[in-house]
């Protein structure tokens, strides 16, 4: 039995999950008090959910590992899930470290150490898969360190810049 607050594209839904699945494979839930039955392809992990049937409505889905979005065949929705019964809410991530989202080559550096940057401001250009990819600041702040040089090859998840 769990009570969760699910926000999808700004719309709130209170979802109550009423225990494990029944012999028909469906879990009973209520959404804003309305009873529904839900079957999902796998409960191994969020990203293992490839399809779901809600009542009689089947659909194929992709769910983000970190539960930031859910994608139907029509598009992607931003989600947020909060456990209404958990005592402490998880703190929001304040990580200002920019890591390489893809291995590649540093083509350009657009900021200097100590510079003030705004959220979304381009900080460098990473060339990978024959494309130049602009890497932007995840939040506003000061460039605390630049960990790469122009022309340097970087590995996946290698730290590039830190914003403090």
């Amino acid at each position: 039995m769990s009570k969760l607050l699910v926000t999808i594209d700004g719309n709130e839904f209170e979802v109550e999950v009423l225990g494990p699945p029944g012999p028909d494979g469906f879990v009973r839930v209520t959404v804003n008090g309305e009873p529904l039955r839900v079957a999902v392809s796998s409960m191994a992990a969020p990203e293992a959910i490839a399809w779901a049937i809600v009542d009689t409505r089947p659909q194929e889905l992709i769910v983000d590992h970190d539960l930031r979005w859910i994608q139907s065949s029509r598009g992607r929705h931003g989600i947020h899930v909060r456990d209404l019964e958990a005592a402490v809410a998880r703190p929001a991530s304040g990580d200002g470290r920019i890591k390489a989202p893809i291995p590649g080559l540093i083509r350009r550096l657009m900021v200097e150490q100590g510079q003030l940057v705004e959220a979304g401001q381009p900080v460098l250009v990473l060339e990978a898969m024959k494309m130049e990819n602009e890497i932007v600041a995840p939040r506003a702040g000061t460039v605390a360190s630049i960990n790469v040089k122009l022309g340097q090859s970087v590995k996946l998840q290698e730290q590039l810049v830190e914003i403090a």
Binding site: V15, G25, P46, R74, R76, P101, M129, K130, N133
Partner: protein
């Protein structure tokens, strides 16, 4: 006909060429760079030979050396890589190896796009207005001066390659040099040529292209027209054939002009002539692509002519054997390029391991791809993963089918632009068929999809949350976790 053909490329186009060779009873000889050994084009070929170093696919000297050593009759370079390298084509010809693609004389005339436009204009054909010459990316002052003369907005175009790469619209002078640098870098990465030129822009405009087949006797037929107006992140992603909203009279004129251009350059094999159409419906010649194009499948669906097969046949010196009246253009074909990229995050490429891959099926649906479940999307190559093309007797039928096929297409493990394509093909402007190049400015990804049942998704999101909580919390009663995730969703009784 050839006995053995070297497939001098990789990815989906190499797979396409291997298939065409085998359909003709020709032995397909594949090559692979280090790390690309298990790629599909290698697995499906009759012979596989290693290339010594990374970047060999686009190294003309290396490719020539391999072709000579293996003693192949012909080389098919596809598009990109060495396909537009004059020196490579000439050296092959001198070595007695046929190039299935543009020969050195055609390349010499068409590769300088500014000169090609001038020549077409001299023949009395309307053309776009290019800069006076091509530029190296560091000729900042000359580029700025030319731009001032042409006026803004204008287009920056790469001398090699097409609008799939390296063509960008510049609206303000202060964006110019940065755009030149990016276009140049993109073209250099694919074609090894960093020169660019400028072209006065036509806004709103539509891009139409006409594919032409020609034999060594100078016989030519056209295979109808194709629309290539829609770009995303400066790359074409959706194309359709024929172009919607053209009158029959406009079409006939464009076809005739394309043939006229083909005669002017004595084009052979498979080539495509491209035009820009302005708001008043006037067309202007812009480029010749003397090689097979990424989007050739759309024309194949429209005409039911196997273009790569024809290309091999024509290169072997066989006659066209087809009159213009015998080219039947029926229905509507829509083509989508599926890229391994993240349209939600600035089109960042998404290499990695493909964990799930399910193709759409059913009548009049075709996919060309090098990917499969378990395949790697290498970080070193282009992000084009697959091309989907559907056909319908009418445009309505084709629209419903492309929608359906995109919904069926499932790829997991890497992020793809499938979500963007689904939105695009259901966008009102696209559905009406009145779109122009300005369509590329529409912000399709910003708004969440409107027609989903959010209540259902909330229920699924709750289940996803619990699945994670469950995985991270072993104290959950075993009855809740065991036996509930793989073959059966039932709990142990």
């Amino acid at each position: 006909m050839f006995k053995r053909v070297l497939v001098a490329n990789r990815g989906e186009i190499a797979v396409r060429i291997v298939r065409a060779c085998r359909d003709l009873g020709i032995k397909a000889v594949a090559v692979y760079e280090p790390g690309d050994m298990g790629a599909l084009h290698v697995r499906l070929a009759d012979e596989a030979h290693p290339l010594p170093a990374p970047n060999s696919y686009r190294d003309p000297d290396e490719m020539l050396e391999v072709a000579k050593r293996l003693g192949v009759d012909a080389v098919h370079p596809g598009y990109g890589q060495v396909s537009e390298h004059v020196g490579f084509a000439r050296a092959c010809e001198e070595a007695g190896i046929v190039v299935v693609g543009p020969g050195s004389t055609v390349l010499e005339q068409t590769l300088d796009k500014v000169e090609a436009i001038r020549r077409v204009a001299a023949a009395g054909i309307p053309t776009t207005s290019p800069s006076t010459r091509a530029f190296a990316p560091d000729e900042s002052e000359a580029i700025l001066a030319e731009a001032e003369a042409l006026g803004y907005p204008l287009l920056v175009k790469a001398c090699s390659g097409g609008r799939g790469r390296g063509t960008q619209l510049v609206r303000e002078p202060d964006q110019l040099l940065d755009t030149v640098r990016r276009s140049s870098a993109a073209a250099k990465a694919v074609y090894g040529n960093d020169h660019v030129y400028l072209e006065a822009s036509v806004l709103p405009s539509r891009y139409v292209e006409v594919t032409i087949l020609g034999d060594n006797q100078g016989n030519l037929v056209h295979l109808g027209d194709r629309d290539g107006s829609i770009q995303r992140n400066t790359r074409k992603i959706v194309e359709e054939a024929p172009m919607p909203s053209l009158t029959e009279a406009q079409r006939e004129t464009i076809w005739a002009t394309a043939l006229q251009v083909a005669r002017l350059f004595e084009l052979r094999g498979v080539t495509t002539v491209e035009f820009v159409i302005d708001g008043e419906g006037r067309h202007a010649f812009t480029e010749v692509k003397p090689r097979v194009q990424v989007e050739h499948m759309a024309t194949e669906m429209l005409t039911r002519i196997d273009i790569v097969r024809e290309q091999l046949r024509l290169a072997a010196g066989e006659p066209l054997g087809l009159t213009q009246e015998q080219v039947r253009m029926r229905g509507v074909a829509i083509l989508c390029r599926i890229n391994a990229e993240d349209p939600w995050h600035g089109y960042m490429p998404s290499p990695g391991h493909i964990t799930g891959f399910r193709l759409p099926g059913g009548p009049n649906v075709r996919v060309d791809t090098y990917a499969y479940a378990g395949a790697e999307v290498p970080v070193r190559y282009d992000s084009l993963l697959a091309k989907l093309v559907v056909w319908g007797a009418t445009r309505e039928e084709a629209l419903l089918r492309v929608h359906r096929a995109l919904q069926e297409f499932h790829i997991s493990g890497v992020t793809t632009n499938l979500g963007l394509l689904r939105k695009l093909v259901s966008d009102d402007e696209f559905v009406l068929g009145h779109y122009t190049t300005e369509f590329s400015r529409r912000h399709l990804m910003d708004a969440p999809p409107p027609d989903d049942n959010l209540r259902d998704l909330a229920a699924v999101a709750a289940m996803a949350y619990l699945s994670r909580a469950q995985a991270g919390r072993p104290t959950t009663p075993p009855a809740f976790t065991s036996g509930w995730h793989h073959d059966s969703r039932r709990l142990p009784q």
